[in-house]
């Protein structure tokens, strides 16, 4: 409400009327007011040019102006000031005309009363302020709609355009008048128009915002992308009566995104290639280090073996000679000689294993059928298996992919594993040999591992499992089973080199060997070999 002092311009040439109004104003009870009086339009315009009034009360019959002209002149001079027309009995029609042109109200001078005048003044000022604000806001939104870089239009529920902003008009190459009242079918090919209307109907049906990116082809044949936002427009009762669509070209952004994606992919490919080459480099380096290490160990082992074997040969000759010369009646002598013979055999076996362990292996790799190798190896150890009453089950996959392998070396690995199983089942048992192809779901690589080769996730391998029903491996020994010279077998039964040699051979093949206790007793040895690249 108006509660600040009101600055009022009274335009009235009749002194009697003027006095009457001034008297009435005193009785209205305004919070405070100031009156400027003008008898002529020219005086009034002068006053308006000099200060801002909250309200103008004006007669329409002035000495220098008659009819609506006075009102129009004041309105033009003070467009934001509320105007209330004072009319006599004879010019009420004129007063109504002024209201149509923007006057806030008109008052019949013949029926003026304080409360009528007061209310008219207050409401006129309030309404004028509200109108000015509305106009300002509208101008703001209008300017937004017309100057945004987006295309904006509205349609009624019958798909007829009710509004189109400047940009959309330019896009269609039509004036606003040519667009309003038409439908999509007047501007677009039928299939597009149908799609657009379908989207509108979806908005009307769901009452929700609809957003999409459309792929279109520009008249010049280029693919363009358009971001579309459609919203329902509701009336005061909340009923949808219109749809609004805002759309804009995002081709440039899309192209940029596509380029970015492509660059990203290229970058990722480069990073992957880098990772691989780094991996290969590391692998090559480790292999080199390993090869050098093995070569020096090999040289050392060969030297040691040579120096041990010669004395062994001498002892062998000595025992041979003594066996024939010493009386055989003495049981102890025979026993001593036998023990010495066995000691030589053991020492010889150890030097041999040491050489095998240390030998830098030149693998003769060929595509091999692991099932074949297993059949062959089982044949080699069949006496040991039958002697210990071990039952063998073969669960070998049919048409198993080939693996790149040195047959002799892999046979040695299986001999070691089978013989370990035999030793683990002295009173008989079951040996299950299983093969199957598989894709790695976890890598054998461990962070910080210095191993030169690893199996990676997704790599295709052939797995071989050997299960025994023996005593299992005590947990405290599991970590040591691949250590050279670690053995739990009685002296003379094992060199402690079987598993280290096997592990070395498998790793030289780029494969992996794992040994675990089975939950239902016994041990499972798992071997993984890379599948040969070109299957023949």
């Amino acid at each position: 409400m108006v509660d600040t002092p009101i600055n009022l311009l009274l335009v009235e040439d009749n002194p009697g009327d003027a006095r009457l109004i001034r008297e009435l104003l005193k009785e209205v009870g305004l919070p405070g007011y100031q009156v400027t009086q003008a008898g002529h339009l020219s005086q009034a315009l002068e006053a308006v040019a000099g200060q801002t009034f909250d309200i103008i009360l004006t007669d329409l019959t002035l000495p220098d102006s008659r009819g609506l002209e006075a009102f129009r002149a004041l309105r033009t001079a003070a467009p934001t000031t509320a105007v209330v027309v004072l009319s006599g009995v004879d010019d009420e029609t004129l007063a109504v005309g002024a209201v149509r042109e923007g006057a806030q109200d008109y008052l019949d001078k013949g029926r003026l009363e304080p409360h009528v005048l007061g209310r008219a003044i207050r409401y006129a000022i309030e309404r004028q302020r509200a109108e000015v604000e509305l106009i300002t806001q509208e101008a703001f939104y209008h300017s937004l709609v017309e100057h945004l870089p987006q295309n904006i239009f509205r349609k009624d529920l019958n798909e007829r355009f009710t509004f189109a902003n400047q940009r959309f008009c330019q896009l269609l190459g039509r004036s606003r008048e040519e667009i309003i009242g038409k439908t999509d079918f007047d501007f677009y090919p039928p299939e597009l128009a149908t799609k657009y209307q379908k989207d509108d109907q979806e908005v009307i049906r769901s009452g929700k915002i609809f957003e999409t990116v459309e792929e279109n082809v520009s008249p010049s044949g280029e693919k363009i992308y358009v971001q579309v936002v459609k919203t329902p427009i509701r009336d005061v009762q909340g009923q949808i009566f219109s749809t609004q669509c805002i759309f804009w070209d995002i081709t440039e952004r899309k192209r940029f995104e596509e380029q970015l994606q492509q660059k990203n992919a290229e970058l990722a490919a480069i990073a992957e290639a880098l990772r691989r080459s780094h991996e290969e480099l590391k692998s090559a380096q480790l292999q080199l280090i390993q090869a050098e290490k093995m070569e020096s160990i090999g040289t050392l082992a060969a030297g040691v073996a040579h120096e041990v074997k010669n004395p062994l040969a001498i002892l062998q000759m000595g025992i041979n000679y003594l066996s024939k010369k010493v009386p055989t009646e003495d049981e102890n002598v025979a026993m001593v000689l036998q023990e010495m013979r066995e000691a030589i055999t053991r020492a010889d076996a150890t030097t041999r294993s040491l050489l095998e362990f240390a030998a830098s292996r030149q693998l003769k790799m060929r595509p091999e059928d692991l099932n074949d190798i297993i059949h062959g190896t089982l044949k080699m150890v069949r006496h040991a298996l039958t002697d210990s009453q071990i039952e063998v089950s073969r669960e070998l996959a049919e048409s198993l992919p080939k693996v790149m392998a040195d047959r002799t070396q892999i046979q040695q690995v299986f001999v070691n594993i089978f013989m370990n199983a035999v030793h683990a089942m002295p009173k008989g048992g079951q040996l299950i040999v299983r093969t199957y192809p598989k894709t790695m779901s976890e890598t054998t690589h461990r962070e910080g591992s210095r191993k030169s080769t690893h199996l990676w996730v997704g790599e295709k391998v052939v797995a071989a499992e050997v299960d025994d029903s023996g005593t299992g491996i005590p947990e405290e020994n599991l970590a040591k089973i691949f250590d050279p010279f670690f053995t739990t077998k009685p002296a003379g039964q094992g060199t402690g080199l079987g598993l280290p040699v096997s592990k070395k051979i498998v790793e030289l093949h780029g494969g992996a060997i794992m040994i675990r206790n089975r939950p239902d007793g016994g041990v499972r040895v798992t071997l993984l070999f890379k599948q040969a690249k070109e299957q023949t």
Binding site: A305, Q316, L355
Partner: protein, 126 residues
């Protein structure tokens, strides 16, 4: 009783040669001469005219392979059977090569007297 086969032992290990000599002579089938100096092996062979030479490979100054080549190159000794008896190879390696290394049969030390005599019987000149 046929004549004893003449076996020349060439090996720098004196203990080994003397014990092997004892063992072979014990069989009463062989006449054995020992040569511990590889460079004197050809001279010894010429004098002894062996039916078979048992030859070590790793020897100071002159390796067994060279001695074998010299024997083969000598007009008088050409064709004399040579058997390598060496600690330089493993049994597995010998077996891989069907017991033949560089055209000559081979035995890995330590070998038993039985293995050695079997080899002699197989390859020595009658």
């Amino acid at each position: 009783m046929s004549r004893k086969k003449r076996i020349l032992l060439v090996d720098d290990e004196k203990s080994f040669t003397s014990l092997l000599k004892l063992n072979l002579e014990e069989t009463n089938k062989y006449e054995v001469r020992v040569e511990n100096w590889a460079e004197d092996a050809v001279k010894a062979a010429r004098e002894f005219q062996p039916d078979l030479v048992l030859l070590d490979i790793i020897m100071p100054r002159l390796p067994g392979g060279n001695v074998a080549a010299l024997i083969e190159a000598d007009p008088q000794l050409k064709g004399t059977p040579v058997v390598f008896l060496t600690a330089a190879v493993r049994r597995a390696q010998v077996e891989d090569h069907d017991g033949i290394i560089g055209d000559h049969p081979c035995l890995a030390k330590p070998a038993t007297v039985e293995e050695i005599t079997a080899m002699i019987e197989k390859h020595a000149r009658a």
